[in-house]
């Protein structure tokens, strides 16, 4: 189970990223954040976000209209 969950469903670019960043900022290293999104663009965007920030994209999956991402806060 993730340490925190962020529901970004219904939000469009760049809000899922901005909200994720805000939440990640308040978390400690090693903790995990689960993000739910309905924005198809967020799949590529969370990959790029994690590559740039050094946070780990543990998993990225989709079911129906919902995309789920699990990000582990960088050490």
């Amino acid at each position: 189970m993730a340490d925190q969950t962020l529901d970004a469903k219904g939000l469009n670019c760049p809000l899922p990223i901005l909200k994720a960043k805000k939440t990640l900022k308040s978390m400690s290293s090693g903790e995990t954040l689960q993000i739910l999104s309905t924005d198809p663009g967020s799949v590529a965007d969370f990959e790029a976000f994690c590559r740039q920030t050094g946070n780990e994209l543990v998993s990225s999956s989709s079911e129906g209209d919902t995309y789920t991402f699990l990000i582990k806060v960088a050490a």
Partner: protein
């Protein structure tokens, strides 16, 4: 700092020259996203971009002269002939339509993105020359902005890997 951070450490500057509802989006979207990706961001507001720093925003847009602007309508995309834009109230209607569409599709408002810019510590510089030219006063503008000119911008730009003019 990890090695990855060092490799990716970047800074970006954006010259913001346009203040209509549609043109206000690219600089604020890229600025906030870059800052969220640990890129140091400076935004320089000049000419028609300067009013984006006013406390009270009242952004408008027009389809006039914008042949590429097609709005989704009944499953199609429709442009607006320039002559229609001459009718009073058409721009206000188009602005309202765009704002409704944005809210419906979960697109952030410019007010929200600007607030995020402040939260993300984006450095915002108001062009002093434009302040004088169009008679704006810092007391009508949001807190935390700096005043500066071309040299202030150029110093920042020369230290940034990414420099955009929007």
């Amino acid at each position: 700092m990890t090695e990855t951070d060092l490799e990716n450490a970047k800074s970006m500057s954006i010259i913001v020259t346009k203040g209509s509802l549609d043109w206000a989006y690219p600089p604020f979207i890229l600025g906030t996203t870059a800052a969220a990706m640990d890129i140091k961001v400076t935004m320089f507001f000049t000419f028609y971009g300067l009013p984006l720093l006013l406390k009270k925003l009242d952004l408008q847009m027009t389809a006039f002269g914008n042949a590429a602007m097609k709005m989704p309508m009944m499953g199609m995309h429709m442009g607006m002939p320039n002559i229609v834009n001459m009718i009073p109230g058409v721009d206000a209607g188009a602005t309202k339509m765009m704002k409704n569409m944005m809210a419906q599709k979960g697109v952030a408002s410019i007010e929200d993105l600007r607030e995020a810019s402040v939260d993300l510590d984006i450095r915002m510089i108001a062009c002093q020359m434009t302040m004088d030219l169009f008679e704006y006063d810092t007391k009508d503008m949001i807190d935390g902005i700096e005043l500066g000119g071309a040299a202030t911008y150029m110093e920042t730009a020369s230290n940034s890997e990414i420099n955009l003019f929007i």
